[in-house]
């Protein structure tokens, strides 16, 4: 099974440990993982700001890098959703279509493709899970409080395989953290208020870590936690699943 690792740009630049954990985890689970070296970004920052028309070059580069693999896996629900919904390449429409079909967010790849049932991971801390909207409502990684459907959660299913972890849920289990891409600066006041409210609920649960499948949300929450001088840390779910503390 040929798996291409897609590391979103901000993870590549600011959170390499998330990429490393993802790679090591996939290799541990027996995947043959390649990292296409000329990858950059999925194009979401432009598209979500209304400039999808500008992302043609970025999209073409993505298609060039990620064609020909059985699966493309990324530790980000948001970037994966963007690729799934919007990746276009006028010169190679079939290649783009194949990528849209074969791109997976890490946790769904583990539960649905690899069908992981146990993990050699230990993480002896109290962890609050943040459900990122694009992963949850976009990719359906878990059931949503708005819809009247049976409850499930792929990230929780995996975290429950980790030894000594204590999971906790915030009061509003699937409220947005307020990152929202460029929203975080163009609507700074609302964005920060939303983030503070998320943090407060995890704080009430006295968690050691806030974890989730999207580093973008976690970066925003981390920024707020650090400014508050909080002891709570953020950690990507891949780092927990790959952890052997």
């Amino acid at each position: 099974m040929q798996v291409a690792l897609f590391i979103p740009c901000y993870i590549d630049q600011f959170y390499p440990q998330v990429g490393i954990a993802t790679l090591q985890l996939l290799e541990k689970l027996g995947c043959d993982v390649s990292f296409p070296l000329e990858q950059t970004c999925c194009g979401q920052p432009m598209a979500n700001s209304g400039f999808a028309s500008l992302s043609k070059g970025c999209d073409a580069n993505f298609v060039e890098n990620f064609s020909g693999f059985d699966y493309i896996v990324a530790p980000s629900g948001s970037c994966v959703l963007h690729v799934k919904e919007h990746l276009q390449d006028a010169a190679h429409p079939e290649k783009a279509a194949n990528i849209r079909k074969n791109v997976y967010e890490l946790t769904e790849f583990l539960t649905d493709v690899l069908k992981v049932e146990k993990l050699q991971a230990r993480f002896p801390f109290k962890v609050g899970l943040h459900n990122s909207c694009h992963g949850q409502r976009g990719l359906h990684l878990s059931s949503m409080t708005e819809t009247m459907t049976p409850s499930f959660s792929k990230p929780e299913q995996l975290l429950n395989m980790v030894t000594d972890i204590r999971l906790s849920k915030p009061k509003r289990n699937d409220e947005c953290c307020g990152f929202g891409g460029t929203f975080c600066v163009f609507e700074e006041a609302v964005s920060v208020k939303m983030g503070k409210d998320r943090v407060a609920e995890h704080d009430d649960n006295e968690v050691d870590y806030i974890s989730g499948g999207d580093t973008s949300c976690l970066m925003h929450l981390e920024g707020i936690l650090k400014r508050q001088g909080s002891k709570i840390k953020t950690i990507h779910i891949a780092e927990i699943l790959n952890s052997s503390l």
Binding site: F14, I20, A60, E146, A189, E222
Partner: protein, 458 residues
């Protein structure tokens, strides 16, 4: 120039305890909605039916409107057509003039808000009394409703007490809800008894019967319409449903989605004027046919105005309805308003994180968050994005299409942040205002991979 949503939101949030209260109050309504929806095993099926009936109706709208007009006329209702808000207001004014009427009561109608009917009539020296309690409160305060179902949701009981003290001479500082409601009740009873003309909105207009349904919790539509000699009902043309039996779907969806009630206290069915009464119906376009012609946005006309998307929206809850500056605020307003005035409302589709909760609660399955995304593309294409954003985006797009340049810029950026933290940690960086910057690592993932990855192990 119009003040931006972001600026008004910032002002709203400046009072953090009040923002928390606003957020909690609306979240409580959202949870009531969840409970009510959970009570129906067929909830998702109902949404699907609601959606399909509305889709079908919009695809055959001209036929249903003709059928409705024919039946309504046969019932003795006088039907008017208005191309825009101004025409709507003129029609109503003409009816009022014809009857030389002074006393007018109005039950809640978001359409008349959209058309600014009150202002229009006031300029002509005609006073309209809003009879929905929440609307009466905001009318006293000369404010716009901040929510389409709960117009005074931005106000606390102390605010209401103050307003009533000023306008209804209630005891100063008496914040008892029962006392205040009683005062409003006595005040409104007088208005109902004296009224000669009643204006109502329309929730559903039934093509096969020519009748229409108005849903209220206070019974104020009935109180107005049943005493007045003239009843004018106003509706946007998308309020049509084909058959009376379809009410079985929509009445169940509407109140559960709006407030978590199984049904509104009053679902009033009007079919024809009572003996001696005159009944008018004003059917309004006001941009709706334009929206119907926009393939990506047409299904926004399915909206039944339940406001579930308001209550669930994390941005609305923390910015308040007035920050949108439109008759219909919240997520649905942000996809309806750019159609009415793209320039003035260019920032609204951006007042969202695209979290998608709105789409999930919508009882008629409008893909609200996807339409927000699409409006962003249209607004940029039409040239309504600000120039600094455009330059930033162009630079970013260029960088991401040139891998080596992207890597160079990333490396330089990280080095700069490390060596000169003040370059990013300053007041010009909006992120930094209330959040710390991420700590730049010594190497990127790619740099680590080149040293430690499979390519070097082979």
């Amino acid at each position: 120039m119009k003040i931006s949503h972001a600026a008004l939101a910032e002002k709203f949030i400046a009072d953090e305890p009040r923002t928390d209260w606003h957020d909690d109050t609306l979240w409580f309504v959202r949870e009531k909605r969840d409970k009510a929806a959970h009570g129906l095993p067929e909830w998702e099926q109902l949404r699907e039916w609601g959606s399909q009936i509305k889709d079908h109706t919009l695809s055959n709208l001209s036929n249903y409107l003709k059928e409705f007009e024919e039946k309504a006329k046969a019932n003795g209702i006088i039907v008017h057509w208005a191309g825009d808000g101004d025409e709507h207001n003129k029609i109503i004014h003409t009816i009022i003039q014809k009857h030389k009427i002074q006393k007018i009561v109005k039950s809640k109608s978001m359409l008349t808000e959209e058309c600014h009917l009150n202002d229009y009539l006031q300029e002509k020296g005609i006073e309209v009394v809003d009879t929905d309690l929440g609307e009466r409160i905001v009318q006293f305060r000369k404010e716009a409703p901040s929510h389409i179902v709960l117009p005074a949701i931005h106000l606390k009981r102390e605010d209401v007490s103050e307003t009533f003290h000023e306008h209804l001479q209630t005891e100063k500082g008496n914040n008892d809800p029962q006392y205040l409601t009683e005062a409003a009740r006595q005040h409104l009873r007088d208005k109902f008894v004296q009224s000669e003309l009643a204006i109502t909105g329309v929730n559903f207009a039934v093509a096969e019967t020519g009748g229409f349904v108005v849903c209220t919790n206070e019974g104020n539509a009935d109180m107005g319409a049943h005493t007045a000699a003239v009843h004018i009902a106003c509706m946007g043309f998308e309020k049509i449903i084909p058959k009376a039996e379809h009410l079985a779907v929509f009445l169940r969806l509407l109140a559960r989605s709006a407030t978590g009630q199984p049904i509104t206290t009053y679902s009033s069915h009007f079919h024809k004027p009572r003996p001696g009464q005159e009944m008018h119906l004003v059917i309004v376009d006001n941009g709706r046919s334009k929206q119907l012609g926009r393939e990506d946005f047409r299904n926004s006309l399915k909206c039944i105005r339940c406001a579930a998307c308001f209550n669930t929206c994390p941005v609305y809850r923390r910015s308040g309805g007035h920050s949108y500056q439109t008759a219909v605020a919240g997520p649905i307003g942000s996809i309806l308003s750019p159609n009415l005035d793209m320039k003035a409302n260019a920032d609204l589709p951006f007042a969202s994180t695209l979290c998608g909760s709105c789409t999930n609660v919508c009882p008629v399955k409008i893909n609200i968050h996807e339409q927000l995304w699409k409006w962003r593309q249209v607004i940029v294409a039409e040239g309504y994005a600000d120039s600094t954003k455009t330059i930033g985006m162009k630079t970013m797009a260029y960088l991401f299409s040139k891998p080596s340049l992207y890597r160079f810029a990333g490396k330089m950026g990280r080095r700069m942040m490390k060596a000169f933290p003040f370059m990013t940690n300053n007041k010009f960086n909006v992120w930094y205002k209330q959040r710390e910057m991420p700590k730049p690592p010594k190497e990127s993932f790619r740099e680590w991979y080149l040293k430690n990855g499979k390519i070097n192990r082979k």
